[in-house]
Amino acid sequence: MAIDLGAVEAQLSTAFPGAVVEREGDWLVLDRDRLPSIATYLRDEMGFDFLTHVSASDYADHLDVVYNVYSTRPELQGPGLSFKVRVPDRVDARVPTVTTIWKSANFQEREVWDMFGIHFDGHPDLRRILLWEGFEGHPLRKDWHEPYYEEDNKPFGSRWPYPENPRPRSAEQRVHWRANVQYPQGFDPEDWDLGADYPPLFAPKVEINGIDTEPVYLNVGPHHPSTHGVFRMVVGLQGETVTNLTPVVGHLHRNHEKIGERNLWNGNIPYTDRLDYISPMYNEFAYVVAVERMLGKEVPERAEYLRVIMGELARVVNHLLTIGFQFNELGAMMTPMIYAFTEREHVLDLFEEASGARMMHNYYRIGGVYGDVSDEWLARCRKVVSRLDRKIDEFETLLTDNEIFISRSRGVGAMSWQEMVNYGVTGPVLRSAGLSYDIRRVEPYSIYESFDFEVPTYETGDVYDRYRQRIAEARQSIKILKQALNRIPATGAIMDGKNAWNVKVPDGELYSRVEHPKGELGFYLVSDGGTNPYRYHVRSECLINLAALEAMSVGHLLADAIVILGSIDITLGEVDR
């Protein structure tokens, strides 16, 4: 399934002698100083137009910035090219930006700057993205420690067998109030000046329809009910028309990745539930697929079927809920959403019966799943699937032809797929613009290859097409579910080997991606051969899809910007991580 790395290396070396510094496993180490020209060549000449993942990793003597590029050309779709650049200087770490070549690098490079302190030369807007502006240090560097720091890796030694200082030592007792936050030296909140968060708008008063207006900056959020969580948009308005828009994220940030590096390999599975809490099953799926690829583990057939069943149920629920929220934002307050939640209840009942929890399932395991399901469960699942099938029809009757909806959504937020690819947009939003790109097809994982399903696409990528796209994809999921429920082996193991609590993963690094209901969810994992990940990065499709929000919203009304935000389908738990 891998790309022919030797051919790529040869081609790059002819075009840029000495461009490939080194070859490290499946990764090419490229020349840092010539990165922009090499990247342009990769995009224009070699077809790698889709940069989906930028991240970094901290090693003792250097920092690595890693990139994963893919191609949307039909003949080149599939596995992509992984390359990295090496930054030897930890103090003054600098890398040329690739934002000018792939706009999807914008938010991701900001995140790398925020977390690793790597300066991207030429980046248009290199500010912190997830942390606040006064934060000191770059937390994903290995020498940075959090206020609750105990040890580098779990299990912490103080838990067993002789914990010092027995009672009381609840978390608050161990780390007292005020000791649980870190401030820069000499920091006084009273005197702190945040400075201008956004540039002042130097536009003169203009007359529109006989009324004098001047540009206004409006903060939408962070507590606005239409923003799907704690999310802020700084919207520049001329009259009611959006002239520019800056998403401000990070209010829900908890440094998931630092926690992930402390955890045991399987200790991360329940944490992934807390990413996109609308479809936690699929987050687990993405993580275990990544770890299994590192381990080279095979999963028993029945477990694979159970995984697909759970994952596709999650997808249907996610799409129905998204449509429900979407209509909340359009002003059809509550009705479609409550209908979607009614269906979700039935699926959650199934999940609860199988896994033990309604939302934080913790069902997938490295090499299998947590528990087998009974025949009654499967029978009930069949009933739920046929019910969902009917309910999707009902949603169509309820909403698709609604004239108010059509007039509010046609042409709103439209964007060509070429531009979306440049912004790194993935998932239903990308497919609704006409590009048939589904990771279940182009880079199959699990047993998706054995199912018969289509990858629906629409033409314009506006809000209406995104709605129809989600309906169509939910139908395809139902199709997969029906096949899976028919073909699932009656008995069989659900776990490959022993379910060990301290899995050891061999040395190596990889970026693994799956088709999450919201887009491409990827995990970048580095292992040093131990029981804990050395580096654990989540390629959040919600955050990266947001990068296109400004381009989609400019020129539309403020009310439409909210609708466009809803149609991108974000969950703040994953955006902020």
Binding site: P155, R159, E172, E345, E353, G356, I404
Partner: protein
């Protein structure tokens, strides 16, 4: 026709509106079926249930499935002084948020004993993942289903010690009957095998 799509959609809303009433108690059940009756709840929660309904919490509660988990508990067989737990520490080490603290007991001569002298769980930190119960080799820690635990004193009531955590085996058998049955069957099979092996050895001698 312009507006037809809207009317078509409204017919769905109307149907839901009517179904919510019709599918609720039938007229002849108005005096016999109580709104807080579980029969009514089951009817709505069934997969072919229709309309929208509300569970009248706290008078009425959802029945939770057997695998439902909330906080961990420690199981003892005869007396609380002798829990199944051997203080091996796997639960404390596998716990993702590291909320379990175990103190291993020592005998008179100061050697470690296979028993805990202290066992604490920081219930506020616990993320209810169930790993402790899943990886316990002695079936000593299990997941409780008691989920109504609000309190005003975090340190007293949410930092659980052995007094809070220990439950008799019968309680566990009631919460997770099929898990309990499977464990007991495995245990019996193991004992049977041991007994047979011992018999064989006795015969040989």
């Amino acid at each position: 026709m312009f507006g037809f799509g809207l009317i078509k959609g409204l017919s769905v809303t109307m149907r839901h509106f009517i179904e919510s009433f019709v599918y609720d108690r039938k007229p002849w059940e108005w005096f016999t079926v109580d709104r807080y009756d579980n029969k009514w709840l089951e009817r709505h929660q069934a997969v072919d249930g229709k309309g929208i309904f509300t569970i009248q919490y706290p008078e009425q509660k959802r029945k939770v499935p057997e695998r439902f988990r909330f906080l961990p508990m420690l199981v003892y067989e005869e007396t609380p002084e002798e829990p199944r737990c051997t203080a091996c520490g796997i639960c404390a080490r596998v716990c993702p948020p590291q909320c379990i603290y175990i103190e291993r007991a020592t005998d008179d001569r100061g050697r470690p004993k296979a028993q805990p002298s202290g066992f604490w769980i920081d219930a506020v930190i616990c993320m209810s993942c169930g790993y402790c119960a899943e990886y316990c080799p002695f079936d000593a820690i299990k997941m409780n289903q008691e989920h109504e635990t609000p309190t005003t004193d975090r340190d007293r009531d949410m930092f659980l010690d052995m007094d809070h955590l220990l439950v008799p085996i019968q309680y566990y058998a009631k919460l997770h009957p099929s898990d309990y049955e499977a464990e007991e069957a495995a245990r019996r099979a193991k004992e049977e095998a041991k007994r047979r092996a011992a018999e064989k050895r006795a015969e040989k001698d």
